[in-house]
């Protein structure tokens, strides 16, 4: 259960302040799937980062399972992320010194999951990368890297999964596999999905869609 109350985000820029988010209100129920759409630069990644506790809001609050993020310090938010949150970044953010398998294992180990290696292998198989386990990010294509990032987010079986353009670099067929995977997780484990996407098929697969316009949310059909 995520509740967003009048969320504000301002950043200092050369000529004063830029108000990226100007009062976002949102309720997301457990097990729901939500798509956030909007033009480039409308603040989607910013919003997602705030929801996941990666950033601190300038005003308002995000409440996850009854805990207001504004009351937590960075370490407490990190602990919350380790327990409940998975994130697929727009720019993948794989660790170049670790191979695909190790990249997926890392958050599992951070959360103290037993047999991390087996679980990581299982999820890499599910995204179709079983032949690429020992490859390093620099040896993978953009789409392959994205799939490793998705496997990493899925593997820790988070309660809430944030994904920033998860199908952005993928061809239609692979994209479909990823969409299936996302919603399978959503169905079988009750994972709450919060996605940013330009992909209409993905947006339509979600139970709810919102659009970011001028720093505010509009319902989008």
């Amino acid at each position: 259960m995520i509740t967003v109350n009048n969320l504000l985000k301002k950043v200092p820029v050369a000529d004063g302040e830029l108000e990226i988010l100007q009062g976002i209100n949102l309720d997301i129920k457990s097990g729901e799937s939500l798509a956030i759409v909007g033009v480039s630069g409308s603040g989607k990644s910013t919003l997602l980062g705030l929801l996941a506790g990666l950033d601190v809001a300038s005003g308002g609050d995000v409440v996850i399972d009854g805990v207001a993020l504004s009351t937590l310090d960075e370490d407490a938010r990190a602990a919350l992320r380790a327990q409940k949150v998975g994130f697929v970044f727009q720019s993948f953010q794989l660790l170049p010194a670790l191979n695909a398998l190790e990249n997926v294992m890392l958050p599992l180990e951070l959360a103290g999951v037993a047999n991390a290696s087996a679980r990581a292998e299982e999820y890499l198989e599910r995204v179709g990368l079983e032949y690429r386990l020992t490859h390093y990010p620099s040896q993978l294509s953009g789409g392959e890297q994205q799939r490793v990032a998705i496997a990493r987010a899925f593997a820790s079986r988070p309660r809430i999964l944030f994904a920033d353009e998860p199908t952005g670099n993928l061809d239609t067929a692979t994209g479909d596999t990823i969409i299936d995977l996302l919603f399978e997780l959503n169905r079988s484990e009750g994972t709450t999905l919060i996605l940013v996407t330009h992909d209409n098929r993905l947006a339509q697969a979600c139970s709810r869609r919102v659009q970011l316009v001028n720093g505010r949310l509009e319902t989008f059909l």
């Binding site: 980062g49 950033d55 990190a78 010194a97 670790l98 951070l110 959360a111 991390a116």
Partner: protein, 830 residues
């Protein structure tokens, strides 16, 4: 979340980073720092215990009981029971006669096997033949004579001589005794005989001037047991002599070598620390993004700290162990250099050197590697969403301050010399401060030049200017590395040449004293006939310092209070001008004075407790008189020129009868001249110091080699700094070059620009280094090592050219990748 297994993958992330090269540099620098410190301090510790043996050598034993009465037999028994080796020794002056009329005063020393317990006895089959080390002592019925005695008594090997009532056969010549300086027994030439013949001589009567000694040898523990047992039983006139009564000139030479080695060693640590700081900084820069990702995946700052902290600790352990091994090897190498010629076996080094090494490793890690890594825990996970430039510079200032303090502390601890430390740290700080400003000034000059030059130059200069602060800092770091190397080369050169100058060929190696005033002219004539150059003759009168400012000094050293002076007997002399190898440190040397003045040697003045302005009471023979201390002198005893504790203006002393002293040089092949001198002037005493001087010379040569070895280690550390420094800027340069190439820049253009960029950097760094080196050398030479400073001209081309070549070379080599690998590969790896 604390089990280490959980962060196994994260740890892998760290160690996989060998590719980046920083960990290799970090480890190598740490190993070098620990190695050089352990090596030098182990060497010094081991040399010190060896030196203690050495000074035992001058006693011919580990411990000696000296006594005016015969030493009780029970003491010997007890010593034997305590597991100690022992030998008795009896010394006294006595007349020795040949079979005819000839007789002379000799200093008799009666010994028994196993004399000496420490050091070696040397003898030769005939006077002035080559000396051979021996473990024998004269057998009962035989004696060995000092070479001069052969001439004085007109005897040869096989002839009989009479000591008291005993007739003994001359069996050889005694050439050197380990304890010749601590067991003189009068001024006459030595006659060595066996204790077994003493009774037969009948010389020892109640009241005769006889010194008895019991020489003891064994482990420190056994000695201590025996000493606690014997000390309470010792009577008036019985004394314990232990180590510490060494040979001053040898000790002093080694003392100075040790100060230099430690200084050089700590410079090695400074360089290593700089390399560590650079490597750690680059490591942490590259890991900032990794940490952001880990944090976005749920790692807390504690996890991150634990991860990097424990990895660093592990690295410290590995480096510590490797460093200790390296240090041990350095120490062994030093000894390989020393042992052969000195006959010094390495003594035990104890654990202290390894403690020092471990501390060094910890300080290097804590103050130089940890600060940038500690900040990794503060990285915001937001970086995964948006790359932001970190504003961590305020904390970096703090790091520098702590780093300098830590390094100063370490150097102080190593050298135990605040002045030396201050001078080195001061030199470094001046280089950093002035260097940074100069570097920025040089860069802006470069801008003017660059804008008028061709495109390669423009590209290079714009590269230098764009990263102005970073480049200025880098220039300063390179400058310091080069500066330290220059300082070392320079100080080493002047140190060694100064040592050599101290004992130039022809340094007097014999002293002649007991020269009567009427013998002066004929003796000078004989010297000039023999072609021997002598130092001036000094009058010498035996006298005693009785009181200072009317307060009578105590006579017995046993009754001595803490800061109390005691009476001292000494040879007085008079002179109008300041003798050679002497420096007035307080007060003023007299001119044409008619006052009752006196000049005292520094340490002597301390021991009687007199300062400039005090009136001291002196006694010569039966006469007492007062004189005012008007100057205190420091004397360079190593110069081997005659010098005195107490000197008066001529008019004060010339009314007393005096004997004269001089020193002269004899080459090994003209030692036969001694025969003629001694025959012509039987009452003149000649002391041979040529063996001691040779020993000091050989130490100087060995120390020179040891210093070169340390220098090699320092150069390695310096090279590491350069590589680490260049590498830290290579990332940016490679990325930029790849982009430029992707945008169509030619390979040659980029290569040229890189070469110019680094060479200019090296040129500027070289200039800074030379300036800093002059300042540091001035401080070191004038303040710490008491040498004379002169600006070094050859430093400029050496510093500047080596800066350009080394930094240009290393820079271009490290950036090769940027221009040779296809740009896509480079961009993809970023």
């Amino acid at each position: 979340m604390s089990a280490p297994a959980q962060t196994l993958t994260a740890r892998k992330l760290l160690w996989r980073d060998w590719r980046g090269g920083e960990l290799g540099i970090l480890l190598a620098a740490l190993v070098l720092a620990v190695g050089v410190v352990v090596g030098i301090s182990a060497f010094v510790a081991s040399l010190q215990s060896a030196l203690e043996n050495e000074s035992r050598r001058f006693l011919a034993a580990d411990q000696v009981i000296s006594s005016r009465q015969a030493i009780p037999e029970v003491w010997r028994d007890k010593a034997r029971q305590s597991g100690l080796a022992s030998a008795s020794l009896v010394g006294f002056p006595s007349m020795v006669m040949n079979d005819g009329e000839g007789m002379t005063l000799a200093s008799i020393k009666a010994v028994e096997a196993p004399y000496p317990l420490r050091g070696t006895l040397k003898y030769s089959e005939a006077p002035y033949e080559s000396a051979i080390a021996t473990e024998q002592v004269p057998t009962p019925g035989e004696v060995w004579l000092a070479p001069r005695l052969f001439a004085l008594l007109d005897v040869n090997v096989g002839d009989p001589v009479w000591v008291g009532e005993a007739s003994l056969t001359v069996a050889g010549a005694i050439r050197s005794e380990p304890d010749s300086t601590t067991a003189m027994f009068g001024y006459g030439p030595r006659l060595l005989m066996n204790v077994a013949d003493l009774a037969a001589t009948g010389v020892i009567q109640p009241g005769s001037r006889v010194s008895y000694r019991l020489l003891l040898g064994g482990s420190d523990a056994d000695l201590a047991t025996f000493v606690t047992w014997v000390e309470p039983q010792m009577a008036q006139g019985q004394r314990l002599l232990g180590s510490g009564d060494g040979q001053a000139s040898v000790n002093r030479t080694l003392q100075r070598a040790r100060a230099f080695l430690l200084l050089a060693g700590s410079l090695g640590v400074v360089l290593a620390a700089a390399a560590i700081a650079l490597a750690a900084r680059r490591f942490s820069e590259r890991h900032t993004d990794y940490v952001a990702i880990m944090k976005s995946l749920g790692a807390t700052s504690a996890t991150v700290n634990r991860l990097y902290g424990s990895s660093l600790l592990l690295m410290g352990l590995i480096a510590g162990v490797l460093g200790c091994l390296v240090g041990w090897a350095i120490q062994a190498l030093f000894f390989a250099l020393f042992a052969e010629q000195l006959g010094v076996a390495p003594g035990p080094m104890g654990v202290l050197p390894f403690v020092i090494g471990a501390t060094t490793a910890m300080v290097c890690l804590l103050f130089f590697a940890w600060p940038p890594l500690r900040r990794l825990a503060l990285v915001s996970p937001l970086r995964v969403l948006r790359r932001e430039e970190d504003a961590g510079s305020a904390q970096q200032i703090q790091d520098y301050v702590f780093g300098v303090l830590a390094m100063t502390g370490l150097m102080w601890w190593y050298s135990a010399d605040i002045l030396l430390t201050a001078s080195v740290v001061g030199g470094l700080l001046v280089t950093v401060g002035v260097g940074f400003l100069l570097a920025k000034a040089l860069l802006s000059v470069g801008r003017g030049v660059g804008s008028q030059a061709g495109s390669v130059w423009r590209l290079a200069m714009s590269g230098l200017l764009r990263r102005g602060n970073a480049n200025a800092l880098q220039m300063v770091i390179f400058g310091i590395a080069i500066m330290l190397m220059l300082v070392l080369v320079m100080v080493r050169t002047s140190l060694i040449s100064q040592w050599q100058a101290q004992l130039p060929p022809g340094t007097p190696n014999h002293f002649a004293f007991n020269i009567g005033s009427e013998q002066r002219t004929p003796l000078a004539a004989l010297f000039s006939d023999l072609g021997i150059r002598t130092e001036p003759l000094f009058p010498m009168t035996r006298g005693r310092v009785m009181a200072v400012n009317g307060r009578l000094l105590t006579e017995d050293r046993d009754e001595l209070g803490a800061n109390e002076g005691r009476q001292r007997e000494s040879n007085f002399t008079y002179a109008q001008g300041i003798p050679e190898a002497t420096r007035v440190v307080a007060g003023q040397w007299w001119g044409d004075t008619s006052a009752e003045e006196v000049s005292l040697e520094e340490e002597f003045a301390g021991s009687v407790g007199a300062a400039v302005g005090d009136t001291i009471t002196l006694r010569v023979g039966a006469d007492s008189f007062d004189a005012t201390v008007t100057s205190i002198r420091a004397v360079d005893w190593e110069s081997m020129k005659p010098n005195f504790f107490v000197i008066f203006p001529p008019h004060v002393l010339d009314k007393f009868p005096a004997m004269y002293i001089t020193s002269f040089f004899l080459a090994p092949d003209s030692k036969g001249a001694l025969n003629q001198i001694v025959r012509a002037f039987p009452t003149v005493t000649v002391i041979e110091l040529d063996i001691v001087i040779e020993e000091v010379r050989s130490i100087v040569a060995r120390v020179g080699q040891a210093i070169e070895l340390v220098l090699a280690v320092i150069l390695c550390a310096g090279a590491l700094v350069l590589v680490a420094g260049v590498q830290s800027s290579v990332d940016v340069r490679i990325r930029e070059s790849a982009l430029l190439r992707a945008l169509g820049a030619r390979r040659g253009l980029l290569m040229g620009a890189l070469a110019i960029e680094f060479t200019v950097l090296g040129l500027f760094a070289g200039c800074l280094a030379v300036m800093g080196a002059e300042v540091a050398a001035w401080g070191l030479q004038t303040q710490a090592l008491q040498l004379i400073y002169a600006p070094t001209l050859w430093l400029w081309p050496l510093g500047v050219v080596s800066g350009m070549v080394i930094i240009g070379g290393v820079g271009v080599a490290s950036c090769r990748k940027a221009v040779n690998v296809p740009p896509l590969v480079v961009l993809r790896e970023l």
